[in-house]
Symmetry: D2
Subunit: 313 residues, 4 copies
């Protein structure tokens, strides 16, 4: 009886315990998909490299990746352009600020975003993705996400993509600020970049898809099924490091101490996390705490990590 | 021999003395008109209500109003909508920040611009100008400026207007930030508002036009020629107060102590100032100090104000 | 029947109308004197150069000057050391910040306080007052205040002075920050400077004393009784300018537009203001608004200034 | 031939290569010990749990721990008071700011320091150390450091401690700011706390002492010699997490991506780092880069970590 077998036995119970914390949170009201499901939706899926999968709760719930997508567009940009180029455009430092703050952009020279996981940084990353047209770039991202998830049917949720547009002003403001600073260039068309950005934020997944994407990171970039290397090991390392230092907005430090796993959350309530060398994990739980992370989801993964001693530290 | 006669005698000398300070400043490189003239261009025109006019230096030099226009669009917005409406959208407080800082917008609740003379505030004012179309709004502004200056030939400098567009990203960023905060509404089209804003910044004048515009403020809103009230007295009062507290960017306090007159400067090197009840004054001097004010122009008006004891304080 | 005679007729009525606004405010709880009087205490005294005095409301109420004292220590420092020295240590610009913010100190080079009326600036001014010992410096300040007020019985309220000490940590923090930046020097003893500072904040007055102090400023530094010049005219000018741009904390701009008179407020609920060339005015009203100014007092002076057209603008 | 044997062969060469980078840095001028040695001092010591030790360069160079001590006072405070108490006083989040910034303290509610490794946080931690007197608290800290380092002769460098006092104003300012916010209480005497703080910053070590201290962390709190548990495993985990997210000032993110090891640096040029489960490492190299970390030391550990694939990620 391996570790996953043992977890399976009480996973439903842990989900039920954690689910009650959802009542402390708020669902992001601007995302239409989230209003269709109960407020206390909670689901988890864990996959090991040999394909063993356990799950509990609302595993069929579909949600869009939102900020979770930023990890994989960063990887794609690194694969397109290399470390030196990418890190001339975004920094490597955590901030203590809200994910969409402009304050830090103003205070810090030379004005590049602190890291690729805050909105300003992720917009810059979207501008770095290569392709002959905005459509081509968006296709390349979607195909990369399909490859990593092993799910060739991933699609952009057009309804969510549309509702992002209604909340785009802050990101548009960030983008023009970046253009003023020269981080985005004269050639970069803000509306095209924002469309690329909102499209990859709106890719729809289940927690099983997220678990599979996380598994590739847990497995050092190698597709566990085919044995093929999908992501260079170094870029997996970079991604995991950012997930520890900046993955959970300005609760990243707290998460690192409480859970100790690389993770990235999204405003739709998803958490993509992993136990290095062992498992990929996807969690859905749309009710968010004040920092923008799934209340019940954080509780669930903390219980699991503490019990299984999964912390990297 | 009245005061202006006395000043006339040594005005050319004071201009020549002040002109040497231009070498300490920099001309705003993005404004094409400014590159056509010598770096040490300096001119002044002073008009009294009875029409007496004295001048010295480069009085024929044409420049665009830039930020100086903000005083008069504020007045027009007040005349269109009244105090209560206008000041629900912009504050009344000086800041210590650069004119285009977003920092303060983020830190202060409820997120309205500090005052109507910083860029963010002036963009909001542009959005408040009434009219059936953006073109109509721009026409209303131009006509108002023609009325106040008594110069029916005032026009937008289309070349300058175009070059503003190449430097619009920061203002675009500010505008979308204001839209995100709800200060600009869903009905406000950012590009249309920025066009209105850049157009009034690009109205071309001479120092004589500025002196005439200032004279209306010095004369409590009354056209000295016709005796007609062009601006309600209360709005003149509001304008003059902002010119003291916020008119010279983040050197307003220093100017108030050194010169003590209501004034507004622009990045093209203009200073529009006035001696309440006595004179309207226009100054041109494109070389700017680090705060964005005309180096030689500030020196010139300080010499005059000190000698003539013009300070309001 | 002169202007003061006319005002006298309805002054009590205006005080009564304004008094009801006190219920919107809060009394500074740490100042013991203020807890002894009704929450809606309100009084005003107006003095003209020829000695005519009118008053209404709680004119015998005693309060400490608090921040109002900063205007006169600035003047004394200017008289001790001159403009060049003083303004190498404090700036001349209004801020949009709270009076005791350290934020701006950090952001602005070279790190001197924005102006002498914010706490950091006033602490620096206290350090500039000349004297052979801290006691001597405090005596010189007290004697100067007695001279300006024409009241040789002014004293420090020792009970208030003591309670300031219990709220000194923020000011102590500011002072050490200034020392770290070199604005205060190695020779400056923080505790001695804070004692000087708290002592002059704790000088006890009535609104009649404040009116008399303001009258000297209204009268360009000349004692209206003796005709003697107590303050050089230039330093009066500087003081009045700061009172317009920075005198009412971060509601100075609003006050300039609504009232248009040089003024300084204190956390004890005092407002010292003046009609240049005409009157000195003292107001007491301990209930404060969110900006730290007397709610009823601001209402009262705004009614008066509007009706009498006293605005400088 | 184990890993350390292999490293030993080229360690001197790597030190020599890295040493040349020292010329890009600056030595902290206020620490007297550092002025006695060459600018390009560089040394490293690596210890494994079985006692094997390798070293190269200036291994006998003595330096004070400075900020490195913060890791161990945090651990001692956790052992004294537990997680819940300690983290009610300091947060868990990295900032993007300078180590001694007050900016973030002002902006963030409820005003507790972001984490225990910035100066404000470490001062709070010093105030939490238990003891009957300041002297007793300092003794407890010194004894704890002796225990962890296995070196009973560790002492405070009194000369360095004295020179800290000459640079204490910023920390004093921070401490009073914390007291104003209530993070430090009325019972906390700022001068006593600062003495405790400066004393533990001034404990003198060699790189071998640091390696031995790091080894206890690498070994999950267990003394490798005696097998005794010196630190509860959970507190080691917390310490290592902070070392990843906040250990290298505002270059922590860059270090995590480039090196990938828990580490803490000090202004004296020390770096204490570790390979979890394997080695404790101490590095000395006083010339600092603009972020406050040893230039040559960072280069050295990055070369080692890359070659040996030591990154945790």
């Amino acid at each position: 009886m391996n570790e996953l077998d043992q977890i399976q036995d009480w996973l439903t119970e842990v989900v039920d315990i954690s689910r009650v914390f959802a009542s402390q949170g708020e669902v992001a009201a601007y995302i239409p998909e989230l209003l269709k499901a109960p407020h206390d939706t909670l689901g988890i899926c864990i996959i090991s490299p040999d394909g063993q999968t356990i799950s509990a709760g609302d595993v069929d719930f579909e949600l869009t990746l939102q900020s979770i997508s930023k990890v994989f567009t960063l990887i794609l940009a690194l694969m397109d352009l290399g470390e030196a180029h990418v890190f001339s455009k975004v920094g490597k430092e955590p901030t203590g600020d809200d994910f969409n703050s402009m304050l830090k952009l103003e205070l810090v020279e030379p004005g590049i975003p602190f890291n690729p996981l805050i909105n300003a940084g992720a917009i810059v990353i979207s501008a770095l993705i290569q392709g002959q047209s905005p459509q081509h770039k968006s296709e390349r991202i979607l195909n990369f996400f399909r490859l990593i998830s092993g799910n060739a049917t991933l699609e952009v949720d057009e309804e969510v993509f549309m509702s992002e547009a209604a909340h785009a002003h802050r990101n548009r403001s960030l983008a023009y600020f970046l253009k003023d600073n020269g981080v985005l260039t004269d050639q970069d068309d803000v509306e095209e970049i924002l469309e690329i950005y909102f499209r990859h934020c709106s890719i729809k997944v289940t927690c099983s898809d997220m678990a599979r994407m996380a598994l590739v990171l847990a497995n050092e970039g190698v597709d566990p099924a085919s044995g093929e290397s999908l992501i260079p090991r170094r870029y997996v390392q970079i991604a995991k490091t950012f997930m520890i230092t900046c993955g959970m907005y300005n609760a990243s430090g707290e998460f690192a101490i409480g859970v100790g796993l690389p993770a990235k959350s999204g405003v739709s309530g998803g958490i993509l996390t992993l136990v290095p060398g062992k498992y990929g994990i996807g969690i859905v739980g749309p009710a968010l705490n004040s920092k923008g992370n799934s209340v019940a989801g954080v509780h669930l993964i903390e219980l699991l990590s503490r019990r299984q001693k999964w912390s990297m530290f």
